[in-house]
Each structure stands twice: as C-alpha cells, then as structure tokens.
Amino acid sequence: MNSIAQSLPIAWSLVTAGDPQLVAVVLLSLRVSALACVFGALLGVAAGAALAVLRFPGQRGVVALLNTLLALPSVVVGLTVYLLLSRSGPLGEFGLLFTPTAMVVAQSLLVMPLIAALTRRLLVSALEQGGEQLHSLGAGPLLRAGLLLAHERLGLVTVLLTAFGRAVSEVGAVMIVGGNIEGVTRVMTTTIALETSKGDLPLALALGLVLLGVVGALHALLALLQARRGQPVEALA
C-alpha cells in the first residue's frame, strides 16, 4: 500500500514527462503487436472465410482445433517459436531469435487462430442471413464470403481490435523469443515483469498505466463501433 502511494506520483510524472525510455518501450510494443495483427489478419481472415464457406473432409476437426487454439497459451507459442528459431532449430540460420522480428512472428502465430476463429463465426452467422440471397444472385462461395465480410466490416474491425488487445497485453511469447533486451526487444509487458521483480516500481507502474490506457482506448473504440453497428458506413463500401 505504501509503495503504491510512493510510486504512483513518480509513475505519473514519467508518463506526463514523456520519459524517452518509456516512450521507446511503448512504441516498440505497439509496433510489434500492430505488425503481428497485420500478418495474423492476412492469414487469419482468409482461413476463417475459407472455413466458413468451403466444405471439405476433416473440416469439423479443423474448426474444433481452431476453437481450441482460441485459448492458446502465449508461453506455448513462445516456446514453439523459440525452438524453431534457436541456433539448433530448423530456422536457426536466420539468426532471428531475440530480435523484434521474432516477437512479431510469435505474436502473429498467437493471434492468427484467434482472428480465424472469430472471422469464421462472424461469417457463419452472416451467411445464415444473406448467403442464400447472394447465391441466388449468382455469387459463388468465395465471392459470398468477400461480400459478407464487407457487409460485416464493423464486426471485422472488432475482431482485429480484439486480436491487437490480446497481442499487446501478452507477456509469455515476447519474453521467451525476445529475451527482454533493453533498447532492443523490451516491450511494455516484459518491462513491467522485470522492473517489478527488480523492485523499480515507478517505471513498472508507469508502463502499467500506459498499457491500461492503450487497452482502455481499444475497448472504448470497440464500444463506439458496436454502438454504430446498425448504421451504415458508406465510406468503407
């Protein structure tokens, strides 16, 4: 209790002063997680759409697996990517371990199943509403999926923001594959973990505040989008 009372003012001054160390950590965090969401979305949206409209043997199994991966522990992803990228691993020759690239790879793998599973659910319910009408108008399965994704564009943005929230707040994967190297791979969550164990509470708390702010802003955006969901967004059409 006492330490919070002492640390909080210092933490707040770090945030308001725009402490360079803090800013660097925050920017790296946002960059890594945003890139991971871009790559995760490229694969995840396509995979989710394909699973929603195509029928193939073993599809139920793939969907069940995907739904399981929704709860994928980030340390397991970290461990897997570590094994792949380490010197003796199959991709060791690229020397990616303990670089921001490795962190992007790990977080992409973390959010890809999440994006795929949520996109599939979004499309399955959209297809129930409008799939047959679009079929009737002459659209094939993939075109139907594309049109309904455009139809549910706000839902899709919600999925991507959810994925970003998951990526930016996870600590397991970036800790393992990034190594938490100061000035290179240190992000918000890993700094918080490290500074807390070191006893440097003001910096940890300052980062905690920023992280809370980022996640809070995301959710405010989500709520705003959901409130507007019934309304048209002609600009995106």
């Binding site: 679009l134 108008l137 309304q231 048209p232 967004v233 002609e234």
Partner: protein
C-alpha cells in the same frame, strides 16, 4: 409409396389440356425430384413442369415444403440427382437470368438502395456502363427512386419488399420466385406489392409464389399447387382448384380449414 401411382404426376399431365392455348413453352421441370435436408426428407417425388407466362401459387401449411420447392426450382438447393431438375431455354429468350427469387425476409448489404441494385447487376454480369441506368429503371418500376441514396436496411418492410422485387426484376428473369411476399406487410403495402407482382407477370415473367392467403392465390394464380408433408398433393388450374375439381381428401380438408381465416 404403396404401389399406387403417386398423386403428383397425374394432375400435371392433365394441366396442359385444361389450360389449353394459354400455356406457353416449358421453362423448368422437375421429375420425381426429392430433397433431403440433413436427415429429414423435405420433398418427395415432386413432378412439375412450369410453362412460360403461367402463375403457379403454392399453398399448404407451415413446413409443408413450399419454401423448399421454391429453392429447388430456383436452383439454390440441389435435388438428390441432378437429372431431377431440368432447365429448358424457350425461344425467344428474355435476355436475363433463368430465375430470380424474392426471399421471405429480404437481405440487403449495408449499402444504399442504389448500390444494392448495382451490386446485383454486377453479379449478373451487366457491364459498368449499363448498371446505373438499369438500377434507376428498376427503382422507378417499384416507385422507390426517391429513396435511392438511403441505406437499404433502414427502409420499411413494405419498401424492402418492393426493393427486393426491383432487384429481382432488374435481372430480367424468365421465372420469378416469391416466398410469401406479403406475409409481414400491412394491408396497404400488401396491395402495393400484389399490384407490382401482377404487373411483372403481365410483362410475360413466369411466376411461382407461395402464400398462406388463399384470397391472394385466387387473385394472382393461374395454377394452384397444394403441398403437404413434402409431397405435391394437388396441382390444378385456379378455377378448378377452388371450383369443381375432384381434389384429394387432405387438400379438401386444407381448403376447409383455411377458408374461414382468409374470407
């Protein structure tokens, strides 16, 4: 299936003679067609030929298979064997799609009325240059040109139904399928939609429509089909169906049961 001839085939063979010269060339036909949805059988042994310009109205209780038959005829649902559904292409062609369907609950993308129509025309392969004019024409046809820029899903139920009709009409279909097109409309909107359907049929479009309203069937139909339990029990010209034709017992019961509500 007790060895007796199915009640489905006989009335259809009878129809050409009774309708006489009014009957056009065949446009679509089903031959002992069946449909399974999952484990359940939705349609059994339906034999039916649609002729150009006719107005076939499907009646029957909920779950009788009316919607399934519409979807099967339209082609969004496959019969058990591909040969059970046949598309004839009578000449002169109308220059559009074989079939267009107005679903019970119309679906539009979150776009303006005009863009929804242009999308349908694009899917149909109309070149860019022609889309705008054809969309405007279709909106004029149903009296919605003033609402062209409104988001489609903000229209009232009656307006949405008219927009769905405009979208189907814009594709210049040989056959127009309508699934209870006036089911959830108020009396005024019902009359508007009915008048539009009647007008479209007068342009030579073949009509297949389901309804729970026997009065509407009398007003719009040239032939009436009664479905029950996924079987086609009766198929008669409208004056015979509501008149002197010898109908199977379930159909007589259905007409007796329905009439008090629709009179």
């Amino acid at each position: 299936m007790n060895g007796a001839s199915p009640p489905t085939a006989a009335p259809d063979r009878m129809a050409p003679e009774t309708l006489g010269a009014a009957l056009g060339p065949p446009v679509l036909s089903l031959h002992a067609a069946g449909v399974s949805l999952g484990a359940t059988t939705a349609l059994t042994e339906v034999t039916l030929t649609l002729h150009r310009g006719e107005r076939l109205v499907l009646v029957g209780s909920n779950g009788a298979g009316k919607t399934t038959l519409l979807r099967l005829l339209h082609g969004v649902l496959r019969p058990r064997a591909a040969a059970q559904r046949q598309v004839h292409r009578p000449q002169p062609a109308r220059g559009g799609v074989v079939g267009a369907m107005v679903f019970q609950r119309p679906f539009f993308l979150r776009l303006s009325v005009r863009r929804n129509l242009r999308l349908a025309l694009w899917l149909h392969g109309v070149p860019r240059a022609g889309r705008e004019a054809q969309a405007r024409l279709a909106l004029q046809r149903v009296g919605l040109e003033a609402l062209a820029e409104r988001p489609a899903h903000t229209l009232s139920a009656g307006q949405q139904q008219r927009l769905a009709l405009a979208r189907a009409w814009a594709l210049r279909p040989e056959v127009l399928f309508l699934d209870e097109p006036t089911a959830s409309l108020d009396p005024a909107a019902k009359r508007e939609v009915e008048a539009l359907i009647d007008g479209i049929a007068r342009e030579g479009v073949t009509l297949v429509m389901s309804t729970h309203n026997l009065g509407q069937a009398k007003r719009l139909a040239s032939r009436v089909a009664h479905l029950e339990g996924g079987r086609l029990l009766a198929l008669e010209p409208v004056d015979r169906f509501f008149g002197a034709a010898p109908l199977p017992a379930p159909t007589r019961l259905f007409l007796k049961g329905e009439l008090p509500w629709t009179a």
